[in-house]
Amino acid sequence: MLQILQDILSGLFETSGLAGLAAEPLKLLMMCISFLFMYLAIVKGFEPLLLLPISFGMFLSNLPAVLPEDMIFHAAYWNEPQSVEWLWKVLHDGGLLDKLYLGVKLQIYPCLIFLGIGTMTDFGPLIANPKSFLLGAAAQGGIFFTFLAAGYMGMSAAECGSIAIIGGADGPTSIYVSSKLLDGADSSLNTGTIALAAYTYMALVPVIQPPIMRLMTTEKERKIKMPQLRTPSKTEKIVFPVVVTLIVALLVPSAASLVGMLMFGNILKESGVAGRLVDTAQNALMNIVTIFLGVSVGATCTASNVANLAFVKVLILGVIAFSLGTACGLGLAKIMNWLSGGKVNPLIGSAGVSAVPMAARISQQEGAKADPTNFLLMHAMGPNVAGVIGSAVAAGVLLSVVNY
């Protein structure tokens, strides 16, 4: 009896995932990394709506499997030349996460998430104080200076762009840009690691930003109070998405998809006549897409993609990108303060990196620390939502400059 059981177990070993694990020990490391991110998502509250699906997807795709038909995700498929036959292979032979990842590769999910974000964004503070746009623009300096750093580190153009966009502090934009740029690129980077880094740093904004903010501003500056903003009229709020889409499409056409969907969502919301659609766009549709996007993007984090030097570079450059973006925003805010004769609290500059609404809350918090009666939240929301538009424009620039 024991002999038989032993035979079974040894037979099982041959055909089971244990053999797969023995063959690829790195998978174990990858699973541990996925556990780390699950921990960060669940216990530390790091952007759990995305990091939890991403980390579980990472776990699923690193489960050992001997036979290709048992694999939930086939990393190898995504380095092959893509054609309609390849599409059929993914649909017919692929695992579930391969099929879901098609929505990322075909650029569908990020646009739909932007639609949902549009229905949840209030551009009122930005309309009330359009100069906030400049802060949202300046904070994109993080993107471009990181491109500079990555370029001088000898990375390829596609890699530079993919890493730089992390500085946009905008998950869907990062996924959109990196999945386009790295499509077919000869790189050890992939969309999954970019997304991991982007969402991790977005969650770390309350850790990364405050020291930089305190370093770059004086106590006196932080105490500056700003007057209450006017309330824009309904008409302005409805005209705004149309104007922004038009201008962005005229100047940076490759940003039109992202900005267009963002503004489509926003006009649905502001019009007040399509409540049904707004509700679905920001709940059912957005959540379905988030689940599919998260778990399939996470699945791209396989051992060969992550356990290498490139991922370390991504992590280092990513935090630099965030810091530089914060610094650029603060810098322009200081200039604006100087030009306005001391009427602009420089703390609102750091909110320009986007990471909505966290970065704006950090501005509020730091302002309140300097003077508890200081209420900067609405003033910081302007640069904050401008940062979303700014990142999308920067994404458009990268996509039009780097041929993919």
């Binding site: 746009f133 300046a138 471009f144 780097v402 041929n403």
Partner: protein, 168 residues
């Protein structure tokens, strides 16, 4: 070539950089950085100007409208009251967006031409919306922003919207 000569970079970058190119030369790196940041700033600066402009225009419009309104109110004081009364229930629904302003619009809508019978219709509308209104209020509490904070001007525009609450 000095890396800060933006225009030159622009010309260089016109054809784009091959994604797999590695390493990038200094001119390309600086080109992307400066031109990229430049484009973002220019694009958003144009938006600053436009949105400021629109703000001014809408302010002007609002101001004009309020003046007209005041004048109209002075003129049509007796007529205004009953209409308001009828329109009121439509506005009372606990929506998410302050809807008192549109009420004024319906009133000042100079009740264009169609409409000697508009009072009759709006009475019907009022009766309808009373029934409808009850249902409606419960719905919006339960689930989502089904309520339309915005309010059209003509009678049938209202009807059109109402249709779409239930629709299609």
């Amino acid at each position: 070539m000095h890396p800060l000569l933006l225009a030159n970079h622009l010309i260089m970058l016109a054809g784009g950089i091959d994604g797999n190119k590695r390493p990038l030369d200094g001119s390309e790196i600086w080109g992307v950085t400066l031109v990229g940041l430049g484009v973002v700033i220019v694009a958003l600066a144009i938006l600053v100007i436009l949105i400021l402009l629109f703000g001014k225009i809408f302010d002007q419009i609002n101001k004009n409208q309020k003046e007209k309104e005041a004048a109209a109110a002075a003129k049509k004081k007796p007529k205004q009251a009953p209409v308001k009364k009828v329109a009121a229930p439509v506005q009372e629904k606990p929506a998410q967006k302050p809807s008192t302003a549109p009420t004024v619009q319906t009133v000042s809508a100079p009740v264009s031409d169609e409409d000697e019978v508009i009072a009759v219709i709006s009475a019907v509308v009022a009766v309808m919306s009373e029934q409808d209104g009850k249902n409606y209020r419960i719905k919006s509490v339960a689930k989502s922003q089904r309520s339309n904070g915005f309010s059209g001007r003509s009678a049938w525009a209202m009807d059109g919207r109402r249709q779409n609450v239930n629709p299609f």
